[in-house]
């Protein structure tokens, strides 16, 4: 339905709701039909029923929970540490020109290097230990959140800073009381982007070698030609990162209620 004919009758509302709830089942049906049509090799492109069976078997007798746990903890540890350091550093570079002049050129040079390119050297540094995975996720999250915090601080409304100073706010409280809350909406945009970034650096880190993890399972299934498990791993990655993103959007609405 084109957007401009969007009338609000109950009937059209119902159709819109059906479209929303029918979206993913429709996708499954098309996928099922395509896989079983005979035009494609079902072994290479298994239907959702095979993928579901593979996932179920992994869940009851296999390593799905361990994989999920390993991947999620890596993301959480890398994300929280990267975000915390980035917000702290971003507040300083955004607020103090001398800190910015010292650090920004270095960050701007390192930031465009895709985190994936660090995988070989990270393996040399950390081996296959968890530290390597945490480091890669940290690296990806750090630059995304740093840029957002830096910009958010620099765009903090100078009128609000003046107002706070006129009310007697000492300089050391300005960051906590005015600049951080002013920058928070921008910081949250950065944090949400970083959720996505942390998942793709996770995949790179796990593909390089890990004993458990959703992406390392995909790699293992690939070597055994278990296409159902491979697609199952992709589905799990999609579900987990989409859930994280939605959860984060709700969190953002709670933390930056004014924007």
């Amino acid at each position: 339905m084109p957007a401009d004919s969007n009338d609000n009758t109950p009937a059209s509302k119902r159709v819109e709701r059906i479209a929303l709830w029918g979206s993913i089942p429709l996708f499954m049906l098309v996928w099922q039909a395509a896989s079983t049509s005979g035009y494609v090799n079902e072994l290479l492109f298994p239907p959702p029923t095979s993928v579901a069976t593979a996932l179920w078997n992994e869940l009851i007798g296999g390593p799905l929970v361990l994989d999920l746990w390993a991947s999620v903890t890596r993301v959480v540890i890398g994300f929280i540490s990267g975000a915390a350091v980035a917000v702290g550093v971003g507040l300083l570079t955004g607020r103090y020109a001398i800190v910015s002049n010292l650090l920004s050129p270095i960050f701007q040079l390192l930031r465009p290097i895709p985190p994936i390119a660090f995988v070989p050297i990270v393996i040399l540094w950390f081996g296959l230990s968890e530290w390597g995975k945490w480091f890669l996720v940290f690296w990806g999250v750090f630059f995304t959140v740093w840029v957002a915090t830096h910009l958010g601080v620099q765009r903090a409304d100078p009128a609000l800073i003046r107002a706070a100073r006129s009310l007697g706010t000492p300089d050391h409280l300005l960051i906590r009381d005015v600049i951080l809350p002013s920058a928070l909406p921008t910081i949250f945009v950065g944090l949400r982007t970083a959720v996505g970034v942390s998942f793709y650096t996770l995949v790179a880190a796990e593909l390089a070698g890990a004993f458990y993890g959703l992406a390392s399972r995909i790699d293992l299934a690939h070597q055994n030609m278990q296409t159902g498990q491979m697609l199952g791993g992709l589905v799990m990655l999609g579900v987990v990162s989409a859930t994280a993103d939605r959860g984060f959007a709700l969190l953002a609405r709670r933390f930056v209620w004014w924007s």
Binding site: R162, A163, R165, S166, L167, T169, P170, D177
Partner: protein, 293 residues
């Protein structure tokens, strides 16, 4: 803490409020502010002198771009002058501080704080306990007639209501001098008239020293004890008019012959100044300003 005590005393005791009129003596001498440097330097204000008695309400009136807001920003401590001094009760101003309350043209309320938290912020950062700060804030919200909106967020309020919160916030720190930078300039005519009466009502109770910047002649004559008229490029004081209208003033005063005589006088001054500034600009950017006599 001394200031904490002062805020509490002033908020609760009307006698202390009247006694406050002995504080807030603002003295500006030989003030000069220039923006930029070298060839492109532009002198915004020069040789500004102004003496505001404790409890006096003074308007600075002038055409746009005459530097009247610059004067206020120096007094607020936001801009450092090239020459001259600003003293409040003999103490030289160097940076912003809670001895002066500032109301800006935009309400500049903290959007993440409720109305009550906005007003309580100043006393809180000045050292009051949370309970004392909230009590002071509630008293000042009542003063501007916004008690029912204490727990609303500023975005939910109209422009005029937000500006009333801004006034309550500036007064909650019990400043010796209240600085107002075209605070009603962004409001519609009806709201503006109402706000002027609200402000006068509050001032007649508190008798805080007020320095009020505006380009609106009627507004200046209606609210002020004295109107200081400024010229443009560079801004200087060209007239200092005592407004002899009795207080408390009501809107009817603006129809009286004395009011109209003063209005005509101010309008003549401002018109001559605006014309001079216009011709200066029309002469092109290279035109040198005539050497000062």
């Amino acid at each position: 803490m001394a200031r904490e005590g002062a805020i509490r005393a002033v908020a609760s005791d009307p006698d202390a409020r009247r006694a406050q009129a002995t504080r807030g003596h603002l003295r500006i001498e030989g003030l000069r502010v220039a923006f930029g440097g070298g060839e492109t330097q532009r002198i915004a204000i020069d040789q500004i002198a102004l003496d505001v008695a404790p409890g006096e309400f003074v308007c600075v009136l002038g055409p746009s771009g005459c530097g009247k807001s610059t004067v206020l920003n120096v007094v607020a401590g936001f801009i450092a002058p090239q020459a001259g001094s600003v003293r409040i009760d003999g103490k030289e101003i160097r940076k912003p501080g809670a001895d002066r309350g500032v109301v800006f043209q935009q309400p500049t309320l903290f959007p993440w704080k409720t109305v009550l938290q906005n007003v309580a912020y100043g006393p809180r950062v000045g050292g009051c306990s949370r309970a004392d700060a909230e009590r002071t804030a509630r008293q000042h919200l009542a003063m501007v007639g916004l008690s029912p909106f204490a727990d609303s967020y500023p975005q939910a309020l109209s422009g005029g209501m937000q500006q009333r919160v801004g006034i309550a916030r500036a007064l909650a720190i019990a400043p010796n001098v209240l600085l107002m930078d075209e605070p009603f300039g962004a409001l519609d005519a009806q709201t503006r008239g109402m706000m002027q009466e609200v402000l006068l009502g509050i001032w007649e109770n508190l008798h805080t020293t007020v320095l009020f910047v505006t380009h609106d002649i009627e507004e200046a004559l209606f609210i002020a004890d004295r109107v200081v008229v400024m010229s443009a490029g560079p801004g200087r004081v060209i007239d200092d008019i005592t407004v002899p209208l009795a207080r408390p003033r009501r809107a009817e005063v603006t129809y009286g012959s004395e009011f109209i005589r003063l209005k005509r006088h101010c309008a003549g001054l401002i018109r001559a100044e605006s014309l001079r500034a216009f011709n200066q600009q029309a002469g092109g950017p290279e035109t040198k300003r005539p050497a000062p006599r």
